[in-house]
């Protein structure tokens, strides 16, 4: 016959062992899950950082490629076109000017050539905004706006107090410039408005760019979801993610569109005193 005390002790020990196992399981689950979640979070952050770096590299490559193409256009095509123009000038002098048809054709070729040279220069400037690197963002935007204003029926204004915008890092300036280009071109192509206002100012440690038009406006969310039309807006998002920027699409009043881009200030540590620039406005 087993002693009841022995049974009680055996059950007590077994019960305590089982209880300890239960407590151990619960504690293990809590700790394991916390560790797993922390690891997953780290992994997600690493992935995000990797994606950002990848994007930054892609954007840098794009800029390098633009630079190379601009260099080729300027050095090769530009030079050859200039030489062609010189040769054509010489040829115009020696051709028979008594024949009106010949003179007409020569002038036409000369005019086409000059136009081509201008186009090449414009494309080169658009590919690499040298003004941006040399004189900074406000001056580059001002130059861009003035050229567009002269060439389009749409009225384009640029509001900025130049002195209030210090030089930013090359990355920030280029990002904002490219976004401004995209937004203004979009407004010109799609808004059907007759006025575009570009505004650049500082706002609580952030540099803010606003592009407003009085056109028909658009639904940014629907546009982004659309595979065909949303590429430009996705490109803006991608560029902004590299510099921790944000974009918001607003509809002021009943028509038109206002796009506000904010990027944290990242002062350029290597900036030098700006030389005088022919396009610079006095504040």
């Amino acid at each position: 016959m087993i002693d009841p005390d022995q049974i009680r002790w055996a059950i007590l020990i077994a019960m305590l062992a089982m209880l300890m196992m239960a407590v151990f399981v619960i504690t293990f689950v809590i700790l394991y899950q916390k560790r797993q979640l922390a690891q997953e979070k780290n992994l997600r952050e690493m992935e995000k950082e990797y994606q950002l770096r990848l994007l930054e590299t892609a954007l840098n490559s794009e800029e390098s490629e633009r630079k190379r193409i601009a260099q080729d256009l300027h050095d090769d095509i530009g030079t050859m076109l200039s030489l062609t123009k010189l040769s054509l000038n010489q040829l115009t002098k020696i051709i028979n000017k008594d024949e009106p048809q010949t003179e007409y054709t020569a002038n036409k070729v000369q005019s086409l050539l000059e136009e081509t040279i201008l186009h090449v220069r414009r494309i080169t400037r658009e590919l690499v905004p040298t003004t941006l690197k040399q004189f900074g963002l406000p001056t580059a935007i001002d130059e861009f706006v003035q050229k567009l204003d002269a060439n389009h029926s749409v009225s384009i204004h640029f509001n900025c107090i130049f002195e209030n915008i210090p030089r930013q890092s090359q990355k920030v300036e280029l990002t904002l410039y490219r976004i401004m280009q995209e937004l203004v071109n979009n407004a010109l192509k799609h808004s059907n408005g007759d006025e575009i206002v570009v505004d650049l100012h500082m706002e609580m440690g952030k540099i803010e760019l606003q592009v407003t038009d009085n056109g028909k406006g658009f639904d940014a969310k629907a546009m982004k979801e659309s595979k065909k039309a949303g590429l430009g807006l996705h490109s803006i998002d991608s560029r902004l993610s590299v510099v921790n920027g944000t974009v918001s699409y607003l509809t002021p009043g009943t028509k038109g569109c206002r796009i506000r881009v904010q990027v944290p200030v990242e002062l350029d540590k290597e900036s030098k005193a700006e030389p005088l620039h022919p396009f610079r406005k006095s504040a």
């Binding site: 049974i7 019960m15 089982m18 399981v25 619960i26 979640l37």
Partner: protein
């Protein structure tokens, strides 16, 4: 009333274990957690438990054999807790196994009740089942471990400590972990001619039942429809 007070003073833990069930029932009702299917099953289980416990208490105060209610309570408890887990789990294999085990256990439990007590009308000599409570404990421990395994595998829950089912399953795991070793002996202990005295161990399941009810109440207290939306 005097009888009840005297009984409560003699057996405080078993009395508290009955009335503490009101706490999770109230919290489920107050937080409207019964709108979710798993909590609805839990709510039905707790309500039935409370009713059966009250009837058992009434019987024991009047020195009547209440073991029939305890025996019937076992398959009902397992079926309702299985229903709760069935609606919690997304894994189809777990769901199938839950149904199979539920049908098997409920059938076995009813068969055992009949087997141990061939004459059900003889309530005076009614005995507790031999194996059903132990099998139920083992199965429930298995399902609680399955819940924790699923929780750490899927990583769907961002903070376990504020997830209702973590506490509910924690409470049930603690209860069944202690009950699993006492259960095989209850058939021999709960007899009129009691030959085995468990002493303080007899009260241990009550203690952990109270603890499990506190855990369940705490878990439901964390319930919110938005948080429970695991999709």
């Amino acid at each position: 009333m005097d009888k009840y007070i005297q009984f409560s003073l003699r057996h405080p833990l078993s009395s508290i274990a009955v009335f503490i069930t009101i706490v999770p029932i109230y919290i489920i009702w107050h937080r409207r957690a019964y709108n979710e299917k798993p909590f609805r099953f839990l709510f039905i289980y707790l309500t039935i438990k409370l009713l059966i416990d009250l009837v058992m208490l009434l019987f024991v105060i009047n020195s009547l054999n209440n073991l029939l209610f305890y025996n019937i309570h076992l398959p009902i408890r397992y079926a309702l807790l299985s229903g709760m887990l069935y609606h919690y789990f997304d894994n189809i294999k777990y769901k199938r196994l839950l149904i199979i085990l539920c049908i098997a256990f409920v059938s076995f439990a009813f068969w055992e009740i009949m087997s141990v007590n061939p004459n059900l009308t003889d309530t005076y000599n009614h005995s507790l089942v031999r194996y059903s409570s132990t099998i139920e404990s083992v199965l429930m421990i298995f399902w609680m471990l399955a819940f924790y395994y699923e929780a750490i595998q899927s990583l769907r829950i961002s903070n376990l400590l504020t997830f209702p089912f973590f506490w509910i399953c924690g409470g049930l795991l603690l209860f069944y972990s202690t009950y699993v070793f006492v259960a095989p002996l209850l058939h021999y202990v709960a007899k009129r001619e009691n030959q085995l005295d468990l002493g303080i161990l007899y009260d241990a399941p009550y203690l952990f039942e109270i603890l499990s009810m506190i855990f369940i109440g705490l878990g439901i207290n964390y319930y919110s429809p938005r948080q429970y939306d695991r999709s």
